[in-house]
């Protein structure tokens, strides 16, 4: 199963499922949210950065969605509606616990038109399927994502982890699409810079693969 939730909506008839729930088959709500569990948790985590709080937010969001399902309008995707709810839950939780770090509100980072210079690496051509087998690389990536400034981590989580599109991400976070694009670019460049040293040392020495590189 991929992280994408769009497939889930396509394979089943969500509007019909929702209509049945609203007309009394309440237990079907369990099925309705099943494909979105991962999205709910990871989205909440991208805001609150704490496992316990993220789980609580995900549960609260599901309960809220259940209570207010009749407010869902078919003109948006159910997944978009749900992600908006969980983002709100998570932001509220963040405010309540007063753990909001300054950088979550700090728009000046974007105001300064600073250039992000990626880390150059010329000897890494590890193919993803091999990299995926390396547990420590995944751990490093998790940490690097957690260390991103809040505004970048949230956009990165929705776009690259949940594979939501620009418009959906913008709607869920209440920002315009251009901000989503700018933040995503910076998040990716920051991660590239952070992870480059780890990727570099992992370069597999495979002659055939390197043969077609211009410098070999």
């Amino acid at each position: 199963m991929t992280a994408s939730t769009t497939g889930a909506a396509k394979e089943r008839n969500e509007p019909e499922l929702i209509a049945r729930i609203l007309s009394g088959e309440k237990d079907l709500f369990h099925d309705l949210i099943r494909p979105y569990e991962r999205m709910l948790y990871l989205t909440a985590f991208s805001v609150v950065k704490n496992e316990t709080d993220a789980e609580e937010c995900a549960q609260d969001a599901v309960v809220n969605a259940y209570r207010h399902l009749d407010r869902f309008r078919g003109d948006a995707k159910f997944s978009t509606w749900l992600v908006t709810i969980v983002v709100n839950e998570a932001l509220q939780k963040l405010r309540k616990t007063k753990r909001a770090r300054e950088d979550s509100l700090d728009e000046t980072i974007e105001g300064e038109d600073q250039e992000f210079t990626p880390a150059p690496l010329t000897d890494w051509r590890e193919i993803p399927s091999e990299a995926l087998e390396r547990k420590e690389l995944r751990e490093t990536l998790r940490k690097a994502v957690a260390d991103l400034p809040d505004i970048y981590r949230q956009v990165f989580t929705l776009r690259d982890l949940q594979e939501m599109n620009v418009a959906e991400t913008a709607a869920a976070l209440g920002v315009n699409e251009n901000i989503v694009k700018v933040r995503l670019h910076r998040a990716r460049m920051m991660l590239q810079k952070t992870l480059a040293p780890y990727l570099k040392t992992a370069a597999p020495a495979r002659k055939g693969f390197w043969g077609r590189m211009p410098w070999s």
């Binding site: 609203l22 369990h30 991962r38 890494w124 051509r125 990716r188 990727l199």
Partner: protein
């Protein structure tokens, strides 16, 4: 016009998302053909995205799903007003 590396870096994200114009795309590709540094940066960024989307990288806490459905079940049983009723 020949693009320089900085120019390419500024558009890497859009290039990956395939949202650059056809003209710019061509220029970036021409640059990538001879610039190994930019090619490596592009590859590494792409690979980070593949790793990110892999379910094993960001996992759910053990028992998350079970607890979620228990909570939902409790809500369904406790309130008469759920699911928009």
């Amino acid at each position: 016009m020949e693009l320089n590396c900085r120019h390419v870096w500024a558009h890497i994200s859009e290039y990956i998302d395939q949202t650059v114009s056809a003209g710019l795309r061509e220029e970036i590709e021409r640059h990538l053909e001879h610039c190994e540094i930019c090619s490596a940066i592009l590859d590494s960024t792409r690979n980070i995205l593949v790793l990110t989307a892999d379910n094993r990288t960001f996992e759910l806490p053990l028992g998350f799903s079970e607890r979620l459905h228990v909570r939902l079940e409790e809500e369904m049983n406790s309130s008469g007003g759920g699911a928009g009723a």
